[in-house]
Every structure is written in structure tokens, then in C-alpha cells.
């Protein structure tokens, strides 16, 4: 049987959204009867945040041959990329973040000029980039499903949850400026979800009224979608790839080079929520509808359709 080997990074010591999506692909394919596996040189214990149905194998021991398929990712170091391009094997590029490619490619190189047999990606902004910038004629969009476990609905508290890791300065600026420039909101608690286990993140989101989106240069960005599904009002950056779902109806999106205006936007949002807790009900409903488009069953269906066609 043809092996489908998804290559992933070596450090699996903490939850990474992109790896969870790769594992979700592999698990879905394994369930559908394919010989799919996630290949890594990570040698630690199996992380509990990776789908248990995804076979995880040691890349150094895996054996792939001409009939098999390597599924590459977008952050492969150049030397490794060149080695894979030289192998007699079929290649699929699974792109979850198009902003990474220029760390591997030279500016005058286009992905369409490499021996890559198919391109799959997680969002329309990536597909547009692959088509328009790299000349890839037919990238296939397979949107990931939200993997976060559903937790029972809770009464929302006027809290702001956020993931500061990618925009540390901005998150600090927002927290401090809100506190000192808008003292009427000094009582609003900010809850970081950095480093939390995905199940704990779900619990935090279930309680928070607002999710401050600090996405930056994302291929898609699942956390805002998770927040929408949890009934959080999303305020902040879409990170580029988030334009796959970000609309005026489903969030208060911010797209400026400096964070100064985001503080004012968040303050205004909190003022409105305090005055009228239901003032964003239509936006929250739109958010839930948006999030509902990113389901694991839909992903599995589209994924299997792609592989059936490709194989």
C-alpha cells in the first residue's frame, strides 16, 4: 500500500497548532484506511495533544520508496528541501503558512518550478498566494477542523483571553494602556492562554466574553475560530491568513502597523459590553456560523476527496 508520510518538525515538546492539524490529517486518513503516518525525529514520549489515532513514526527509521508520497511542510530548511526534491518519490506540499516559504526559497524561485506533484493548503489566502505568486495552477484548500473539545456553555464573564506569544509587545501595550488610559476598565481581567493544554484553553474561552486576537503572519489562525465557537467576541488582528474567515460581521478586526488604535477599539468594545451585554449578539452569532464551517468531518471529507483523486 502506498505510504503517505507527513513530515513534521522535531520539537513536539509543546502544543503547536500546525502539528495538530498535520496529525488530524494523518488520523483522518488512517481512519479511512490509508497508510498514513506523521514522521518526526522527536524522541520524547508521545505528546497527548496529538490525535491518538495518528500513527507517529521516527523519521530515521521510516522507509519510503518510489511508490510512496512525502507530504512536505512550509518550514523545511533549504538543505532538507533540496534533498527531498532530488528523491525519486511523489511529493505533496501541505502549506499551513505561506509567510514561511521565503525562508527556504530564493526570491527568484517559484514553487511551481519544483517537482512537487500537488499542493494542499488550509486557507484561500494561501491558495491565492500559491496561484498568483508561485504560479501553482490548482492548489486545493482543505480547511482544518476545529479540534478543541467542546465544553459546556458557561455564563460569560467580562474577561479578555489572549495568546501573547506572537505579539508580546502589543499584548503588554494593550493591557497596560487599557489599565491606565481607560481606568474604568481596570477591573477587566486578562487571561493568557499561552502554554495551556488545549482542553484548558477551551475552558478559559468558554468563560471569557472577549478574545483578543494577536495573530501575526498566519496561514489561517485557528484560535480566533475556536474563540468564535466558544462564544467569544473576537477583537484584533486577523494575521493575513485569517482573511479566510474574518468579516465585518463576525469580529472587530484591526489591521494597522501599530497597536495604538487597538487599545481604543478594545476599550470601546468593553464599554459597550458593560452598557449592554447583548450589544454584540448578531456578531457572536455570525462568529458561531463562521466557526461551524471549520469542522473535522468536513475536513475529513475534503481530505479524502483530495487523496482519492491524487492517488
Amino acid at each position: 500500500m502506498t505510504q503517505i508520510a507527513y513530515l513534521t518538525i522535531s520539537n513536539l515538546s509543546r502544543p503547536v497548532g500546525g502539528i495538530m492539524v498535520q496529525a488530524a490529517h494523518v488520523a483522518a486518513l488512517a481512519r479511512a484506511g490509508y497508510d498514513a503516518k506523521l514522521c518526526t525525529i522527536y524522541s520524547g514520549p508521545r505528546p497527548d495533544w496529538i490525535d491518538p489515532e495518528a500513527p507517529l513514526v521516527d523519521s530515521n527509521r521510516a522507509s519510503v520508496g518510489p511508490g510512496d508520497i512525502l507530504v512536505l511542510h512550509d518550514s523545511i530548511p533549504r538543505k532538507v528541501f533540496d534533498r527531498f526534491m532530488g528523491m525519486k518519490i511523489r511529493r505533496v506540499m501541505f502549506c499551513q503558512n505561506h509567510y514561511f516559504f521565503d525562508q527556504t526559497l530564493r526570491p527568484d524561485e517559484r514553487l511551481a518550478d519544483f517537482p512537487i506533484d500537488a499542493f494542499i493548503c488550509v486557507s484561500e489566502p494561501i491558495a491565492a498566494y500559491l496561484r498568483d505568486v508561485h504560479g501553482v495552477p490548482d492548489p486545493v484548500v482543505i480547511r482544518p477542523g476545529i479540534m478543541q473539545r467542546r465544553v459546556p456553555e458557561k455564563e460569560k464573564k467580562l474577561r479578555v483571553c489572549f495568546m501573547p506569544r506572537k505579539r508580546l509587545i502589543e499584548s503588554g501595550t494593550i493591557v497596560h494602556r487599557l489599565n491606565y488610559l481607560y481606568p474604568e476598565h481596570a477591573d477587566v481581567e486578562f487571561v493568557s492562554i499561552h502554554g495551556l493544554h488545549p482542553e484548558k484553553v477551551a475552558e478559559v474561552m468558554a468563560e471569557c466574553a472577549v478574545f483578543l486576537s494577536l495573530s501575526v503572519n498566519e496561514g489561517l489562525g485557528l484560535p480566533p475560530l475556536e474563540a468564535m465557537r466558544s462564544g467569544c467576541l473576537v477583537v484584533g488582528y486577523h494575521g493575513g491568513g485569517g482573511l479566510d474567515y474574518a468579516t465585518e460581521e463576525n469580529g472587530l478586526w484591526y489591521d494597522s502597523a501599530t497597536p495604538a488604535g487597538l487599545v481604543d477599539l478594545l476599550a470601546d468594545t468593553l464599554t459597550r459590553l458593560k452598557a449592554e451585554p447583548d450589544s454584540f449578539a448578531p456578531m457572536l452569532a455570525a462568529g458561531r456560523r463562521t466557526a461551524d464551517r471549520y469542522r473535522l468531518d468536513v475536513m475529513q471529507e475534503e481530505l479524502c476527496r483530495f487523496w482519492e483523486t491524487f492517488l
Binding site: Y99, F100, F101, D102, Q103, L105, P107, D108, R110, P125, Y129, D132, V133, H134, I169, E170, G172, T173, H176, R177, Y180, L181, V216, N217, Y237, H238, G239, G240, L243, Y254, D255, S256, A257, T258, P259, A260
Partner: protein, 308 residues
């Protein structure tokens, strides 16, 4: 009564060290010319004892942990600079409140000064223009020679973002594909002064900062600037004096740069009006032009350490 000496301190490994050096050197020279003793020194070196007027040490607030220890009784005070106006957090504020030697916080930009005055730092906030004396670079002709390829200078610590912009533009725009791309580094002053005048365009992705000295020096030299200014030019930047990358989305920034490159490719005057406006704006933001206002702040600062 003798005026206190104003001593600008630089640490060896601090970020944007050359920018700070250019700013501090210019202020020190202008203060001296105004009869106020001033010097530039290393945070890691040994300073002679202060004179009878005492000494005010000026350094980036981010380097507060490296501030020299001062014996009790010495007439030495601190006046930190808020170099990055977005990075004023609780640890810095606590230090300001608790450090008895602190006189004031020096902040660039009227708007930022007003904001910071609302923070509980327990000290005065004084405005200060972060300005320098620009190198006397031969001003570029506003009309580029049509025959040669564009020379695009890239500047900024957001390397991945610049790489993405360059890759996208190179693949989509013939002018960008033919261009010579030059990596610029303001921190390497000699290389900067050598390479900047060759550039037809400066493309910069700045980190947040209260300083935009590299952009201003390029503008003064007549090099068209296309940049994310990091917040430092919020008041000065306009469509009349540069092309400003206002979006947080790189594809939108690339579109902006692409439109600009099309203007280079077209016939007729190329950005000459913008370059003239940019040079004028940079001139108004130079160390010499802004020193009268800065001098007011330096005098206010010195008044704070006068015996009551």
C-alpha cells in the same frame, strides 16, 4: 550655581545602539554649544566623579538594570529615555517610582507624552525630540537614470517580513525582479553611509520605536522612503513625504510597494515632489531644528535637581 553635567550612557549590547548614539551625540554637542556640560559615556566604563553641579545620567529605560551604582551623597540623578513608547510596563514603572535618583522620564512625541503622563510612574514626563545631525550625503537626483536597474535598500529587524515582501515583489513585478536589493544596516554606520546614496528606494520594516532616525536620514538624503515607521513618525508621516506601510498584513504592504514601483517604471517625474517634501520634513525634525524645544526640556530637567 554650576549646571549639572548631562551624561548620555550607552550599553555595549543594546538594541538600536547606533541610533541612540547619533541622538545622544547630537544632543551632547548642542548642549555644550549652549553652555551646558554634556558628554557621551559607556555604561560599562568608569566615569570621573561628578563636578560640583552634579550629573544627570540619561539612558534607555530598557537598560535600567545596567544603570551605574552611585555612592550615597553623590549629586547624581537619572533621567531615562523611553525609547520604545509601546514598551512601558509595570517593571519599568515600579523602578521609576522606587528609584530615588530618578528625576523624569524623557519621551518622544507630544501624543506619547500625554499618554505616559497618565501612567503611575511617579515622575515628571518631559518631551524630547529623538533627532540627529544627518550625514552630509550627496543628495540623489530625483530623476533616476532610466537605464540601470532599481537599487532597493532593505532595512529592518523584521527580516522574515522583508524576505516575504521581496519574494512576492520579485515574482510579480518585472522592475523588482531586475532590481538590485541591498541589505542596509544603520547600526553599521560606515556601510550605511556607503550604501544608502546608491539606493533608489529605501524599503524598511521597523520595530516599534520612538526613533525613526534611519528613515529621516534617508529622507534628508533624497532617497524615497517606503516604510513601516514603527510608530515614531505618526505625526510626521504623510502621503506627501513618503510611502507608509500602514497595514499589519504583508500582502497589503506588498501591494503598496508594488504601486510605488510602478511609478518608478513610468515616464515623467518620479517622486521628485515627495523627495523634496521628505527632505523638508526631515530637516524640520533634525537635531538642530528641534533643539530649541529640547533645550526647554533639558532646562526643566536641570531645574528638578536644583536644591530646593
Amino acid at each position: 550655581m554650576t549646571a549639572p553635567e548631562i551624561c548620555f550612557l550607552l550599553a555595549e549590547q543594546e538594541t538600536e545602539r547606533m541610533e541612540k548614539r547619533c541622538f545622544f551625540e547630537a544632543q551632547a554637542a548642542l548642549l555644550e554649544a549652549a553652555g551646558i556640560p554634556a558628554r557621551l559615556a559607556s555604561m560599562d566604563g568608569t566615569l570621573p566623579p561628578p563636578g560640583t553641579g552634579g550629573r544627570i545620567m540619561v539612558f534607555d529605560l530598557a537598560n535600567r538594570d545596567q544603570a551605574p551604582s552611585v555612592p550615597d551623597g553623590d549629586r547624581v540623578w537619572f533621567a531615562p529615555v523611553l525609547w520604545d513608547p509601546y514598551a512601558l510596563f509595570d517593571p519599568q514603572m515600579t523602578w521609576m517610582r522606587r528609584e530615588a535618583r530618578c528625576l523624569a522620564l524623557l519621551v518622544s512625541g507630544e501624543h506619547e507624552v500625554e499618554l505616559v503622563r497618565k501612567y503611575p510612574i511617579g515622575q515628571q514626563v518631559l518631551p524630547l525630540h529623538f533627532a540627529m545631525n544627518y550625514a552630509d550625503l550627496e543628495r540623489r537626483a530625483a530623476e533616476r537614470e532610466a537605464a540601470g536597474p532599481l537599487v532597493i535598500g532593505c532595512l529592518g529587524r523584521k527580516k522574515a517580513a522583508l524576505d516575504f515582501l521581496r519574494g512576492m515583489l520579485t515574482r510579480l513585478q518585472p522592475a523588482a525582479a531586475r532590481a538590485e536589493w541591498v541589505e542596509l544596516d544603520f547600526e553599521d554606520r560606515d556601510a550605511w553611509l556607503r550604501d544608502l546614496p546608491r539606493c533608489d528606494l529605501l524599503l524598511a520594516m521597523r520595530s516599534y520605536s520612538g526613533s525613526a532616525l534611519p528613515l529621516l536620514e534617508a529622507m534628508a538624503a533624497g532617497v524615497p522612503v517606503c516604510a513601516d515607521h514603527g510608530g515614531a513618525l505618526s505625526r510626521l508621516a504623510s502621503a506627501d513625504n513618503g510611502t507608509w506601510l500602514e497595514s499589519a498584513t504583508l500582502e497589503r504592504c506588498a501591494e503598496t510597494v508594488a504601486h510605488l514601483l510602478e511609478r518608478f517604471a513610468g515616464p515623467g517625474p518620479q517622486l521628485s515632489g515627495i523627495c523634496a517634501n521628505a527632505a523638508r520634513a526631515a530637516g524640520q525634525a533634525s537635531a538642530a531644528a528641534t533643539f530649541p524645544e529640547n533645550l526647554n526640556s533639558w532646562r526643566s530637567l536641570m531645574a528638578l535637581c536644583a536644591p530646593s
